[in-house]
């Protein structure tokens, strides 16, 4: 029997809120699927579109960018720039026909460990029926 498809997600987490939030999930021992590999960045504002495209190209089935809630950015306004940039990237990815579910953005505060686990759980669940992401994945 074929093994169940396990999507692989890359999550760009800002250091001060989302990464701290996911740490909190850890400290609180909230279980969530292991399909996500976190990459801590200083601020969601530092996530370049190239990071996202690159992750898809290197085989990510889903990409998450997560930062502080608006107004809570450790760097005051980085997440506002991120919000604009990500909206544009998302538009383009959908325009070329990538499944919109594969690219997500969220606000997760340092206290929202639970929210983080829910986001990951839901993400994995929506990705499973989609199967592997092959569109942007590098051809051998």
């Amino acid at each position: 029997m074929a093994e169940e498809f396990e999507p692989r997600i890359v999550a760009f987490l800002c250091k001060w809120c989302s990464s701290a939030g996911s740490d909190l999930a850890g400290v609180s021992r909230m279980e969530y699927p292991p399909n996500v590999i976190p990459i801590q960045v200083m601020c969601s504002g530092s996530v370049s579109p190239l990071y996202i495209l690159s992750a898809f190209k290197k085989g990510a089935d889903g990409v998450l960018v997560s930062g502080c809630h608006p107004g809570d950015c450790h760097y005051i306004k980085g997440n506002f720039y991120a919000r604009r940039r990500i909206a544009l990237v998302k538009g383009q990815l959908e325009f070329i026909g990538l499944e919109p579910e594969r690219f997500q953005m969220s606000w997760v505060s340092a206290a929202e460990g639970k929210k983080y686990t829910e986001i990951i759980k839901d993400f994995v669940n929506t990705l499973k029926p989609l199967g592997p992401q092959t569109k942007l994945r590098r051809n051998p």
Partner: protein
């Protein structure tokens, strides 16, 4: 109507007076009806200038070239360059100003009106004329072109052969100029993003099918990048083809050069190239359509930029090239920017 004679007179005059170093304009090509970019420094040669619906090129690209040349010169001649700009080209000038790539007095702008029409799409024209060879094409009154072929002249409604970007053009009259030729006649544009909407209307599967086929064709000749006046980076982030190695570039820097895409012209690499380019043109592309025109494989890459333009307008109420003093699209934000896509 633009009076070519007036244009030539002004050109001769500013060349004679030394007001400009040279003029970038259009002149007749060696073969066929398509004009070629001309660089005129002798007042006598101003006679060669031409202006007609086949003047498709966005000449501002050559201002960028000039800037690059000047940077390398020891004793640069910093006199302004005269340049002929259409509506879209003039918006490119505004973006270059906005990005401080040029100063306003680096250029002397000879604006030309696209009248009520715009420029021609060579391929559409060929189709309409079913293979007859065009010798000359001119503006006519009332939104028509006068096309002279080997077998005679005929009037064609411009709409039938207009370049796509002209059909969706927001301002077919220069938005910035020092002197302008021709009248400002606004053409009604009801659906400025119709082309994009046709793609958006496709199902996600069909959109992918469409782009997969199109982007698979790309041979990465980079003509789309090379022709674009906004693609002026000395080194493009997505590949190393123009790695700006300078004598002081350290070994570390060379080693660190990231391979965001590989040299292989594979679909995945092509997509990253094209999407990155689109992202990098967000809020900067003024839709001169040159990238698409030059593509030897007829890949409709303008769609990607147009989509970006549409999102910028709809999400952020941002329009490109009208105001050289506005902050750029991605280096600004508003509190009320949409975030319904964020969880």
């Amino acid at each position: 109507m633009v009076k070519l004679e007036d244009l030539k007179k002004e050109a001769t005059q500013i060349l004679k007076s030394g007001k400009v170093k040279y003029i970038i304009g259009y002149a007749k090509g060696a073969a066929g009806f398509m004009p070629i970019p001309a660089f005129i420094s002798d007042p006598e040669d101003a006679e060669n200038l031409t202006w007609n619906p086949a003047c498709v090129h966005n000449l501002t690209k050559f201002i960028v070239d000039e800037k690059k040349r000047l940077k390398k010169e020891k004793k640069p001649d910093n006199r302004p360059i005269g340049i002929i700009v259409k509506g879209c080209d003039s918006r490119a000038i505004n973006v270059l100003l906005q990005e401080k790539y040029i100063d306003r007095d680096d250029v002397y702008l000879l604006g030309v009106s696209c009248e009520k029409t715009g420029v021609v799409d060579e391929k559409k024209l060929a189709k309409t004329l079913k293979g007859q060879r065009v010798v000359q094409i001119d503006f006519e009154d009332n939104g028509n072109f006068l096309v002279t072929t080997e077998s005679g002249s005929e009037k064609i409604p411009a709409e039938d052969v207009l370049a796509e970007r002209c059909i969706e053009c927001k301002a077919n009259f220069p938005v910035v100029f020092d002197i302008v030729f021709g009248e400002k006649i606004k053409r009604q544009v009801d659906k400025p993003f119709q082309s994009v909407e046709t793609i958006e209307a496709l199902s996600q599967k069909d959109r992918w099918k469409f782009w997969k086929e199109q982007l698979d064709k790309c041979i990465r000749c980079y003509a789309c990048r090379s022709v674009c006046p906004m693609c002026y980076c000395d080194e493009c982030v997505v590949d190393t083809i123009s790695f700006a190695v300078e004598p002081d570039t350290s070994a570390e820097e060379k080693a660190q050069k990231i391979k965001w895409i590989e040299k292989s012209p594979n679909l995945s690499e092509n997509i990253v190239y094209h999407l990155t380019r689109a992202m990098h043109l967000a809020g900067r592309c003024i839709d001169c359509g040159e990238c698409e025109r030059v593509c030897p494989l007829d890949i409709p890459i303008r769609f990607l930029n147009k989509k970006m333009e549409k999102d910028a307008k709809n999400f952020f109420d941002y329009e490109v090239g009208f105001d050289p003093d506005q902050p750029s699209l991605v280096s600004s934000f508003k509190d009320e920017d949409p975030e319904d896509f964020i969880r």
